[in-house]
Symmetry: C2
Subunit: 138 residues, 2 copies
Amino acid sequence: MLSKKTRYALRALTYLGENYGKGPVLISDISREKKIPLKFLENILNELKKADVLESKKGKGGGYFLKASPKKISLAKVIRIVNGPIALVPCVSLNFYEKCEDCDEKHCGIRQMMTITRDATLKILEKKTLADVIFASA
Amino acid sequence: MLSKKTRYALRALTYLGENYGKGPVLISDISREKKIPLKFLENILNELKKADVLESKKGKGGGYFLKASPKKISLAKVIRIVNGPIALVPCVSLNFYEKCEDCDEKHCGIRQMMTITRDATLKILEKKTLADVIFASA
DNA sequence: TTAATATCCTACTAATTTAGTAGGGAAAAT
DNA sequence: ATTTTCCCTACTAAATTAGTAGGATATTAA
């Protein structure tokens, strides 16, 4: 399951996607509109900024905004930044790989099933973007 | 990600699958062969028994064994028992549904994407069984 | 140059979940 | 009756999650 933090991130990004091209949006606006605890949201948006998904401006007229079009930001990307691996086991993760002890990876049946599962999941999450989320909610 | 407990469960069940039809297997054997902490494994196998996946026999000649053929036990079933929901968000879970607050489910774009993702994941995990795991590792 | 606005940064905390461990109880076989 | 083996309750340590607190820093504008 995705953490609450990740769900907050997705909701915030959706809001920023809806306001794409309209200039910076205040954290406090997102917090109010999407009912996300303000200070927690600060951390989340900052994390997304460091991961190059968002840009920000300080001072009056400032706020956060998407660095690229909502069409360019996949759900997989967001989930990886905020939630971590998408695969069900680390030894199958593309971005967070960890070797599993006591297991010959070439002949591990569990690993093979988890690889197939990962591919099926990624096929969706890599393709679907914030734009799809926004379009679907219209 | 699956918990360590769930990965232990899958490994133990695979072992029991390999010994299907050969009578009860000792916890201590599984623990040794699959390198799973014995007392922890006890809890896991008991949970699987309560969920009707395993049967057990006490006393000499006793142990655990699969209640049905490895072909009949899907990975989805095991994961749900030990790990919980397979869906990425509760409002999309078939077996562990929870309403999400502040969200009009009919018009939530995130929810729709998560539904598609769940379906893709389940298509694999409902179909693949312990038998597939065993066959793949041969 | 000062005040106001808004993000940025570090650190802390409470609650929950995970990953076990401990110790005996109960049933079955011999 | 003794041994074997699973069964059950409860406890604990460590990690993760979900925040909160408080000020530092950058920008704008009077």
